[in-house]
């Protein structure tokens, strides 16, 4: 079952290479729907009380090197898998409604990207994770570079922008490969080398190694998000990317970085995590502030969404590095939430671009006039983006802030400003496009039925989650508890770190919580 989930998109993509141009888009959409079906089926069969891995597959892959083909689902990745399947379905369908150049290759790459992304979420072997994490970029490189649009204002071309993205993100990834191998070898103490994340957790690493390995991983994840300081690739790449591809890229790929912290960094390098907690929190807060402020000032609608993602991912990182179960619960919820809002925004941007021929906020406006449905859908998305009470985003942010308040109150106070700022840029985006004065020569047109079919289910997911966020929280919590306990169970930064086996009681100034209190 889990193998089907992983390889089904690729199988559809390979067959699609040999289909006629007209059919391939539908075939690809069918593939993503089938994948979504498998994912939903697995979510139904998921045992929510269990904190361990389910649906596991584990066979040796390269036995000489200790690499296993090991997959599994637990509370940490279940909903990210669903998110991946949902967004890919939406984006693929949206692209299928439109003419694409060389469609066979385009949809093959889309589906290849889905398999790679699912693989990164599913992998339970450290090296397999690194492999999928790196490989994810390859299809996106081609999609951005070959189907993207060159800038008309003399900025870098699509291929230059993607090259920059590749180099940025692979700086982290290749160092991560070294770090992953070092983790396995140092943990093995000369014995049998294994990359299994579960086994590596038991073996443990000396703190000296944890420190540098932590940063090798952290940099890879922070670049992918992107976080402040390492976000340099984002503006150019976002401008170049074709919008349906950007919807999944922005909606899912950024989350792989945050997920990596939960899956790899917290359990494997607990002492280093505790030690560098504040450094990462500073980066996270800087991302929130920088992302928000940049989102205020940008006029390109893609970049508003892009910079808002920087801010949101900052929130998610902060939630994880609160090092409390509620913070991480909130972070996972927020990853799903953010994916569900940013992908529709990208699709709406594409729809608006077709109507106005521009992506400049200053030249848009008045789109709501004849398009009440489009406006309503966008309004829901915008309100969710600004974490309106009642939306799942509100609950996610609440959990994150709650966790942060309990561990690092100063950081929490600063992070709150991010919530306020998100209201500004989300409303500015909505007003600038939907209200305001309509520029001359631009027609307000209602969303077409076909695009409605794509957009409405995504918005429905947002509404559904707003009504019942426990759907996620309930299932993620056991796994999150276990992951966070790895760090809180390890030495706190105040105690003697080198001693290695005295059990710390507290993290920072916070208390050790055993369960996140049910909310609402």
């Amino acid at each position: 079952m889990i193998n089907v989930l992983l390889w089904l998109p690729l199988a559809f993509g390979l067959v699609g290479l040999f289909l006629p141009k007209k059919a391939v888009g539908w075939w690809a959409t069918l593939g993503t729907i089938a994948t979504l079906g498998v994912a939903i089926g697995m979510a139904f069969g998921f045992d929510s009380g269990n904190s361990g891995l389910q649906y596991t597959v584990d066979t040796p892959w390269i036995s000489g090197l200790g690499v296993d083909y090991s997959l599994g689902i637990d509370g940490l990745n279940l909903f990210l898998l669903l998110l991946t399947a949902v967004l890919w379905t939406g984006a693929t369908a949206f692209a299928a409604f439109r003419e694409q150049e060389r469609p066979q290759l385009f949809f093959f790459l889309m589906l290849l990207a889905e398999t790679a992304t699912l693989g990164a979420f599913l992998a339970q072997d450290l090296l397999l994770f690194v492999l999928f994490f790196d490989f994810m970029l390859v299809p996106f490189y081609f999609l951005f570079g070959a189907w993207g649009s060159d800038r008309t204002d003399g900025g870098p071309t699509a291929s230059a922008a993607t090259l920059k993205m590749m180099i940025y993100t692979l700086i982290g990834s290749l160092l991560m490969l070294v770090a992953a191998i070092a983790t396995a070898i140092i943990s093995a103490h000369g014995g049998h080398i294994t990359f299994s994340i579960a086994e590596l957790q038991h073996q443990g690493l000396p703190l000296g190694s944890q420190r540098w390995i932590f940063w090798f991983f952290a940099v890879a994840f922070l670049v992918k998000m992107p976080a402040f300081l390492v976000h340099g690739w984002m503006p150019d790449a976002y401008r170049a990317a074709p919008l349906p591809v950007l919807a999944v890229f922005s909606g899912v790929l950024a989350k792989v970085g945050a997920y990596g912290f939960l899956r790899v960094v917290l359990p494997l390098f607990p002492q280093a995590t505790a030690q560098f907690q504040e450094v990462v929190l500073v980066i996270a807060l800087a991302s929130i502030l920088y992302g928000s402020v940049m989102a205020f000032t940008q006029t390109n609608v893609r970049l508003i969404a892009g910079y808002s993602s920087v801010a949101q991912l900052g929130f998610i990182t902060a939630g994880i590095f609160a090092l409390r179960a509620d913070g991480s619960d909130g972070a996972i919820l927020q990853m799903v939430n953010h994916g569900l809002v940013v992908a529709p925004i990208m699709i709406i941007v594409a729809i608006l671009f077709e109507r106005t021929g521009t992506e400049d906020l200053g030249k848009m406006g008045g789109m709501a006039m004849r398009a009440p449905v489009l406006a309503a859908l966008f309004l829901i998305v915008a309100l969710a983006t600004l974490a309106m009470p009642g939306s799942a985003n509100f609950i996610g942010e609440f959990y994150i802030l709650n966790g942060l308040f309990n561990s690092k109150i100063v950081f929490a106070l600063i992070a709150i400003s991010g919530v306020a700022m998100s209201a500004y840029y989300a409303l500015r985006l909505y007003q600038g496009t939907m209200h305001n004065r309509k520029p001359d020569g631009v027609m307000s047109r209602e969303i077409s039925l076909r695009d409605g079919i794509v957009l409405a289910p995504l918005v429905l997911c947002i509404v559904g989650l707003a009504l019942y966020p426990q759907l996620i929280l309930h299932r993620t919590d056991p796994s999150v508890q276990q992951t966070v306990a790895k760090v809180t169970g390890a030495d706190s930064p105040e105690t003697e770190l080198a001693s290695g086996n005295t059990t710390g009681v507290a993290i920072g100034s916070g208390k050790l919580v055993s369960s996140s209190e049910p909310k609402e």
């Binding site: 000489g64 090197l65 060389r102 490989f135 390859v138 490189y141 090259l163 590749m166 180099i167 070294v178």
Partner: protein, 500 residues
């Protein structure tokens, strides 16, 4: 005084005999008119027979000719890589002007001669066979580089290679003399015991000898800073020969590099390992930075070869079984990756007026996907991206390095791969992300590597099976061993284990 005829294991030397016989036969076809066209075919037969005889000895460990040669899995693995490259070189040479100008028989006989040198070198375990083999390998190559008689670049390439190669050989020979002087033995095992027994561990004489031998080998494997000849020679030589040189020479030289340093100089690992590690690091940086601005694909691959040699040297630095295995794995993967790339370059060289300039492949993704895919896969694999043999090769090497406490070199490899993305992806971008068919206004373009003779000589080159076939197969192998690496890992670990 009586002379005892040394015992010769004819089964063991059979591969060498096969090559020698093949060489003579192929050379004869040059003078017998009706047989002129058969040279490529006979060459392939010779190579196949040699490969068969080598595989027959797999998992054996034979000392041949009183210990001058050692036929073990390491030697066989490396020889097979060299033979594979030579076989593909024969295919790529079909229709190459160089074979016509130099004479098909002579061209192929020289190629076999070079392979003979490589097979010998891979087995060499004595300073004398070592040197004889390296010369047997090199001299035919000096000539082959210059076989494109009408092109100035080719002659220059041959001459340059001759001069630099001779310098390398001389340095190597000088180093050998020092080692023999110090230890009194030409035998690798004898040198090792000599060093230990005579207490020469930090004897300056021996250290100078080691340094000079290392420099000589660095010339042959094109490790920086002894790589300056590489881009020029690669660019000037006929492209099939470049492909052959890029991989086979490197493989054979690395085989003896391994045997010489791990067996003969094994006791002194603490002295030479850090020095080689520094060479590897320099090579990685110089190769990757040098490749950045190259417009000629052959020069680009030349510089990339310098960087890749740096990665591979890491496998020797750690002086361990896993290091040796990882080096052999990488060499095998490197053979596939380069084959795919060079086959496409050959095809485009014959088809367009751009020679090996990067413009020759512009827009290839849309117009000739059958050529674009192999080159794309090759570039991604050379850059070390996952789902290719290149990724597994890097993984294997880095694992060996970290195990051997050379994590810093592993980080160098990672950083080097990152720099390399900039030029490998430039090639990929040229194929997929730029409109093709740029029309050049009349006359021949003034670009590097495209002499007036670079006019298309075979407008249908991209449909020739002997060009597309090897490219596609090599690319398929690159991906296959990226997904199912176990067979190649087993092959490499068997070969690596034979030294220990």
């Amino acid at each position: 005084m009586t002379f005892h005829e040394p015992h010769i294991d004819y089964a063991g030397v059979a591969p060498i005999i096969a090559l020698t016989v093949g060489l003579v036969v192929v050379l004869f076809t040059a003078v017998i008119k009706p047989l002129k066209r058969t040279a490529p075919f006979l060459t392939l037969v010779t190579l196949a027979a040699t490969a068969g005889l080598l595989i027959w000895h797999w998992d054996e460990k034979l000392e041949l000719i009183t210990g001058a040669l050692q036929l073990d899995n390491l030697a066989i693995a490396i020889s097979l890589i060299a033979i594979l490259m030579a076989a593909v070189c024969v295919l790529l040479s079909i229709g190459e002007p160089a074979t016509e100008e130099a004479g098909s028989g002579e061209y192929h006989a020289l190629l076999i001669g070079s392979v003979l040198g490589m097979v010998l070198l891979a087995q060499a375990s004595n300073l004398v066979t070592f040197f004889v083999a390296i010369e047997t390998l090199s001299i035919p190559l000096y000539i082959l580089c210059a076989t494109n008689l009408r092109r100035e670049g080719s002659l220059e390439s041959g001459l340059k290679y001759l001069i630099v190669g001779s310098l390398g050989s001389a340095t190597l020979l000088y180093g050998m003399a020092f080692l023999y002087g110090g230890t009194g033995s030409t035998d690798f095992a004898g040198i090792a015991t000599g060093i230990v027994h005579k207490g020469l561990l930090s004897d300056p004489l021996i250290l100078i000898g080691i340094a000079m031998a290392a420099v000589g080998l660095a010339f042959k494997t094109s490790i920086a800073p002894f790589h300056q000849w590489t881009p020029d020679v690669y660019q000037g030589a006929p492209t099939p020969i470049t492909a052959f040189m890029a991989v086979a020479t490197k493989a054979a030289a690395f085989a003896v590099f391994l045997r010489f340093f791990l067996v003969a100089l094994g006791p002194q690992v603490d002295q030479w390992a850090p020095a080689l590690a520094v060479l590897a690091a320099i090579s990685i940086v110089v190769g990757n930075v040098g490749a950045l601005g190259q417009d000629s694909l052959k020069r680009l691959l030349g510089y990339s070869g310098v960087a890749q040699a740096g990665y591979m040297l890491g496998g020797i630095v750690v002086a361990s079984e896993s290091g040796t295995s990882s080096l052999i794995f990488y060499l095998a993967a490197y053979a596939f990756m380069n084959l795919a790339a060079f086959a496409v370059v050959v095809a485009r060289e014959r088809e367009t007026i751009f020679g090996d300039d990067i413009r020759a492949i512009q827009g290839l993704g849309a117009s000739k996907p059958l050529l674009a895919w192999p080159l794309t896969i090759s570039m991604l694999a050379l850059a070390g991206l996952p789902v290719t043999a290149g990724f597994i090769g890097k993984l294997y090497l880095i694992e060996a390095l970290v195990e051997g406490d050379y994590t810093w070199l592993a980080v160098f490899i990672a950083v080097g791969s990152m720099i390399s993305l900039a030029y490998y992806l430039r090639v990929v971008a040229a194929m997929w992300m730029r409109p093709g068919g740029e029309k050049v206004p009349g006359g021949t373009p003034a670009i590097a590597g495209a002499a007036p003779e670079a006019d298309p000589i075979d407008p249908a080159a991209s449909r020739r099976w002997y060009l597309v076939g090897p490219a596609a197969l090599a690319a398929a192998a690159t991906v296959f061993f990226g997904i199912i690496p176990q067979p190649l890992v087993d092959f490499a670990s068997h070969a690596g284990a034979s030294l220990f």
